[in-house]
């Protein structure tokens, strides 16, 4: 009578966080299915720039997560491709790092005036104490790192640990690796209910294709993580925070690092619904320069905002005047999964045994994905996680 459920865990969401959860859980010996109503990387992952940043995070739980993730991305990137499914040398061959366009390019934060530089210096001081590599660069030395930078900044801080991946490739290749180790990918399948036992624990999920009995469900639904939580009968206040990215025509390498103005950190930390923009400029291996980042809470409105584009263009040209002479070839937008205190929800939900959250990473989901996946797999297998997960508890908003 007792039939074993087909999987140990169902991960809902085939974005980069769901992919990392599936990858580490499979690696830990679990039988995993990934279910997504859309394609691989169809939500916020596919609209991301692929930032792996420590530079924009103040000391605290998110920085600890970012430092762990930075190490894990480096380890993943160093894996030979053959270990990740597919034959080496075929199609997008090469090692894993090459396949996902991993670049340990480093970040450069610039401060326009002396007061800004003083604040940035103090910020970097705190980060260094928490384990971040942060090197102060005097104004005139900035041009050795970025020859096309506009004249005039008071100085900056170089963060060698900042890196970049192509996020859709990162998700797809993590999923391919998980599949080659036995995970199942179920795309175009929508979860319509999370079923529970009389004792309140997870019994399984219902999808538009049928029922899946499974003792553990991982909510990696990103910006739609609140909806999935609601299906399970628990509250999680994930809200969309819209962002636009401008993509220039392909250019020779004129921007070497991930470069942004010091105000960006304040924008990230703000909870305001109003529009905030601070240019984050970076080159890509394919040639185009990416220009982010705007933040506004306008629901899921996909309409292009001319004002947002204007502000991003002004700020990008202020950092790199040479960009004023190029064409913007396209633009895209995405919706960051925003939680009110800017920390993701990671780990077992105390309100519903068997439900795990891995969502709400706002604009840092690509960067924080491996650490999130690893920590979830530790909990799923009853092992001690590398970090204290209590700051990321999903029920921390419950009483407000």
């Amino acid at each position: 009578m007792l039939t074993r459920p087909p999987y140990d865990v169902v991960v809902v969401g085939a974005g980069v966080v769901g992919a990392a959860c599936a990858y580490y859980a499979t690696l830990a010996g679990l039988s995993v299915a990934v279910v997504d109503r859309g394609p691989v990387a169809g939500g916020t992952t596919g609209a991301g720039e692929g930032n792996l940043l420590v530079s924009d995070k103040e000391p605290g739980p998110e920085l600890d997560l970012a430092l762990l993730s930075t190490r894990l991305w480096g380890e993943l990137a160093a894996e030979p491709g053959a270990a990740f499914g597919g034959e080496a040398g075929r199609g997008t061959g090469g090692g894993f790092g090459e396949r996902i366009e991993y670049e340990a390019k480093g970040g450069l934060v610039v401060a326009s005036g002396e007061p800004g530089m003083a604040a940035l210096r103090a910020f970097a001081e705190g980060q260094r104490a928490a384990g971040v590599e942060a090197v102060e660069i005097a104004g005139e030395r900035l041009y050795e790192l970025e020859p096309h930078l506009a004249p005039g900044p008071a100085g900056g801080v170089h963060y060698p640990q900042d890196a970049q991946v192509q996020p859709a490739l990162a998700a797809a290749h993590l999923l391919r690796a998980a599949r080659s180790a036995g995970a199942e990918l179920r795309l175009g399948e929508t979860v319509t209910a999370v079923r529970t036992r009389p004792d309140g624990s997870v019994l399984g999920v219902t999808t538009d294709r049928g029922q899946i009995d499974v003792p553990a469900v991982v909510n990696a639904a990103g910006t739609w993580g609140g909806e999935l939580a609601r299906l399970a009968g628990v509250a999680l206040p994930v809200l969309p925070r819209r962002g636009f990215v401008l993509v220039t025509e392909p250019l020779p390498r004129i921007v070497r690092h991930k470069v942004y103005a010091a105000d960006y950190v304040a924008d990230v930390a703000s909870g305001s619904a109003a529009l905030q923009t601070s240019a984050v400029v970076e080159g890509t291996p394919a040639g185009p320069v990416l220009i982010g980042a705007s933040r506004e809470r306008v629901g899921f409105d996909r309409t292009l905002s001319v004002e947002v584009l204007r502000r991003l263009a002004v700020q990008a040209a202020a950092l790199f005047p040479v960009l004023a002479e190029v064409a913007v070839q396209r633009a895209y937008r995405g919706f960051r999964p925003y939680l009110p205190d800017h920390l993701p929800a990671i780990g077992a939900d105390a309100r519903l045994p068997g439900l795990y959250h891995a969502c709400g990473h706002e604009g840092a989901g690509i960067g924080l994905a491996p650490a999130t996946g690893l920590l979830i797999s530790r909990q799923l297998t009853g092992k001690q996680p590398e970090l204290d997960l209590s700051p990321f508890r999903a029920d921390r908003f419950a009483r407000s």
């Binding site: 859709a168 401008l246 394919a286 309409t303 004023a324 002479e325 064409a327």
Partner: protein, 477 residues
């Protein structure tokens, strides 16, 4: 397709009034639909702005020889030149009287909705070369671009699009080659071949992928459109006179050559467009004009969420009601944007839309003409829908996206091993469609290879590239 700035050296200045005034109607596109709409609306008392990326009216259809070429009889290359001449002279009269502000060299990159719509246009690469046109209503008459299906050798010099060959003839009075194979599918092939032989080229074969048997299913529609039949018969007679052979149910499956095309391989196709093994034959040529019909250019509307419909040829067009209204308040569409159907249909729809926008009754004869032409267009579209097995003539190393040089094998890998099941995911994983043309060239092929059988509108938040300095600049006022 973005028009290169060098195409319009004679662009007049936008003028102060152009940007400060709120027009009753802004028409985007000065091809048959847009011209007909603008002159009709102006005649009914509306103040109109007519924006177009090109230097002269007529769009892709009514192309002119460049003024310096001294062409004496451009009408010989055109059907319906008299209709165009009449529209042009009405445009001149309305422009002179201040009822139409005709804005050449204006490429609209986005539209903002509202009680007052705002159209943002770029006029060229210079910093200040941008404009904002404000209007209470907008008519989208942005036409269509050519559907391309890749095949081995399609990137060789000497391989041009069927429409490109027509355009070279009409505007440059030059031939793409001396011995030109015309291939693909759709009524444009006969028109292109007929123009080419009339201009002195040899056309060793017209290679049409469909069998034309579909047409037999629509006899009443055919009988109701005698003018279209006469047009087709005219092309047919020209081709017959020049001894041009029409090969039906066949396709060019490879173009050969190193420096440029020297020959093509033509194969017979089964009903799904699968090449029949052993049916290949080689035809020597020095140019190949190839096209698979046209696709509506509608991103200005779809980016705002306008409803679309799938046409019988597998393309995506704007959904409009009998008054040419889109699903967005204040936005109308006419001509190819509502489904490709040719200049006569576009003229009828432009005029009809203008009457509705002006709040005037639509003459029954006009409505009937529009409906007849639309029915004919749908019949043609059904006949020329690409068969699902055309992808079998691709080789693993055939570039599907030529901007980003993405071969078929990479796209198949993304689908089979990386979990891509639609064109957008393929694009994210391979860069196919991320280049300068923004997927206009490879979009249909990528969608087909991804296994996504529901055509959907491509996402293009910017309808064309925009100089960053113009995005950054203060709004012209």
């Amino acid at each position: 397709m973005p028009t290169s700035p060098s195409d319009h050296p004679n662009r007049p200045e936008a003028g102060e009034r152009a940007v400060s005034e709120v027009y009753d109607l802004a028409v985007v596109g000065a091809g048959p639909a847009g011209l007909a709409a603008a002159v009709t609306a102006a005649g009914l008392g509306l103040r109109c702005a007519l924006l177009d990326a090109g230097p002269r009216p007529g769009g892709q259809y009514y192309r002119h020889p460049a003024p310096g070429l001294g062409a004496v009889h451009p009408e010989r290359l055109h059907h319906g030149w008299a209709a165009f001449a009449a529209l042009s002279s009405r445009l001149k009269v309305h422009t002179a009287a201040g009822r139409i502000t005709y804005l050449t060299g204006h490429q609209v990159w986005t539209a903002e909705r509202g009680e007052i719509w705002r159209l943002h246009a770029t006029l060229g690469p210079e910093v200040g070369a941008h404009a904002v046109v404000r209007a209470r209503t907008v008519l989208l008459a942005t036409g269509a671009y050519e559907r391309q299906l890749p095949f081995p050798g399609w990137t060789l010099p000497g391989v041009v699009t069927a429409g490109g060959a027509q355009a070279m003839l009409k505007s440059g009075l030059v031939l793409p080659g001396r011995r030109v194979v015309v291939a693909g599918s759709g009524p444009l092939l006969l028109a292109a071949a007929s123009s080419l032989v009339s201009a002195g080229a040899t056309v060793p074969a017209v290679v049409e992928a469909t069998s034309y048997l579909h047409y037999a299913k629509g006899l009443p529609t055919l009988a109701a459109n005698p003018a279209k039949l006469a047009e087709g018969a005219g092309h047919g007679a020209t081709l017959l006179r020049h001894g041009v052979r029409l090969r039906r149910s066949s396709a060019v499956v490879e173009a050969h050559g190193t420096e440029r095309v020297t020959a093509v391989t033509v194969a017979r196709l089964d009903r799904d467009w699968r090449p029949v093994p052993g049916s290949e034959r080689r035809i020597a040529c020095d140019a190949l004009a190839v096209g698979h019909g046209l696709l509506p250019q509608i991103e200005l509307a779809t980016e705002l969420g306008a409803r679309t419909r799938e046409t019988p040829d597998g393309s995506v067009a704007l959904a409009v009601d009998s008054g040419m209204r889109t699903s967005l308040a204040g936005l109308w569409a006419a001509g190819e944007t509502c489904g490709v159907g040719g200049a006569d249909l576009a003229l009828a729809e432009g005029e009809l839309a203008a009457r509705v926008i002006a709040g005037r009754p639509v003459p029954p004869a006009l409505r009937a003409r529009r409906e007849r032409r639309r029915a004919f267009a749908e019949l043609m579209a059904a006949a020329h829908r690409p068969g699902p097995a055309w992808t079998e003539w691709l080789r693993p190393d055939t570039d599907v996206c030529r901007c980003e040089e993405v071969p078929a094998a990479r796209i198949r890998e993304a689908v089979e091993e990386l979990g891509a099941g639609d064109a957008r995911t393929v694009k994210l994983l391979t860069r196919a469609g991320m280049g300068w043309c923004q997927g206009r060239m490879c979009g249909p092929a990528v969608a087909c290879l991804s296994g996504d059988d529901r055509p959907r509108a491509d996402s293009r938040p910017l309808a064309c590239p925009v100089p960053l300095a113009q995005l950054a600049g203060p709004e012209p006022s």
